[in-house]
Amino acid sequence: MGNLLRAGVILAAAVVLVGGIFYLIHYGATSPDYRVFRGEPADLRSVSGIFADAIDLRSRGLIQLGLLLLVATPVARVVFSVFAFARQHDLTYVVLTLIVLAVLIYSLVGWHA
């Protein structure tokens, strides 16, 4: 379980770093503007859009993919806990863990947005 978390964080950080290098090569000389909130374009908001951008090797899409992997790391840990409790025949905790997983998936797919 500890290794899963560590691997997830390392992988996410590596993808963010590679995307970040591309990003700085591309946009390094432009001037940043975070004073006014505009919100991200639609492709950087959804799981499918992020994957499409990352496959095209667009720098912002790559960073966003790394961030998505980072978000997925604790989610994966919860998925593994479902199996761990199931192996112990601990039905109560299988159900409790599935509730947590359902809330996480609900947040991620964005039906609420």
């Binding site: 720098s59 960073i63 978000v71 790391t73 947590v100 947040s107 947005a113």
Partner: protein
């Protein structure tokens, strides 16, 4: 200032925040939002998005080290995560409807309160009171390894702890922090878990809670890759280094200084929020 310079400066400041946060145990996440908004003039929504991502990174990085040692109580953690994740969703929903100035004022108050909480001495009370019935029903009592063999403990006040965890989750979703201070408060003052168990269980929960909030912020377009990149990498590198130095460092004075910085940032957030600078 161009994007390259901005990235280097925010990355370095995040590194220092992560380093001090892990060295003092106060967490780097709490200073990221004030740092980005007050120093770099970033809109608070982008700042919260970037902060959340860094909270997941440090929590998962630190939790990886603890899970192996058998201190964290996965059952308690998982049960309470129902409260923290639903709270996080509620907090993120509220954040979308509140003006930035109100969020800034709440943020300031939470900063000051967490500095106060961390300044109080933690006392470990092993009580003889009867254990909570819900805790017994859900088989939450546990033990952790010590040099004299396993130390058993009983869990108390589960419903109150659950309620407080909902609040911790809401604050996390509203402000983009890990709310470790509130979680530890619930776990060791209310539910009376031993320190080692409460600290590691809280760390385990922070990542899952922040993942729920971060997903909502991502969908809403609050997470900007160009800003989150240096913040996440900086905080992660800083906190990993801090955890290595921690063993040898004399942290008492550092904790006091860092707490003072947090209080000052809190006052500034409240002032700027009230004077409409957000």
């Amino acid at each position: 200032m161009n994007t390259l310079e901005f990235t280097i400066l925010t990355g370095l400041s995040s590194f220092v925040a992560g380093f001090l946060g892990s060295l003092t145990g106060l967490g780097g996440g709490v200073v990221i939002v004030p740092l980005l908004t007050l120093v770099f003039g970033v809109d608070i929504r982008y700042a919260i998005g970037a902060s959340l991502v860094s909270v997941i990174a440090t929590s998962s990085g630190a939790a990886a080290a603890y899970v192996k040692e058998g201190y964290s109580n996965i059952r308690i953690g998982m049960f309470l995560e129902i409260a923290t994740t639903i709270g996080a969703l509620a907090g993120a929903a509220v954040a979308a409807r509140l003006p930035a100035s109100v969020i800034a004022v709440i943020f300031g108050l939470v900063l000051i309160y967490s500095a106060y909480l961390s300044g109080r001495p933690r006392e470990e009370k092993i009580s003889d009171d009867p254990p909570d019935r819900l805790a017994t029903l859900l088989r939450m009592h546990g033990s952790y390894p010590t040099s004299q063999g396993p130390q058993h403990y009983r869990v108390r006040a589960v419903p109150t702890g659950f309620g407080l965890m909902f609040v911790a989750g809401m604050l996390s979703g509203l402000l983009g922090i890990g709310s470790g201070a509130v979680k530890v408060l619930a776990l060791d003052r209310i539910m009376r878990l031993p320190f080692k168990v409460s600290t590691t269980t809280s760390n385990f929960m922070i990542g899952v809670t922040a993942a729920a909030s971060a997903s909502v912020y991502l969908n809403r377009g609050y997470i900007d890759p160009g800003l989150a990149m240096p913040v996440m990498l900086g905080v992660l590198a800083g906190s990993l280094l801090g955890a290595r130095v921690l063993v040898r460092a004399q942290t008492r004075i550092l904790r006091i200084i860092f707490s003072l910085v947090i209080v000052l940032l809190g006052v500034q957030m409240i002032y700027n929020g009230l004077t409409g600078r957000f």
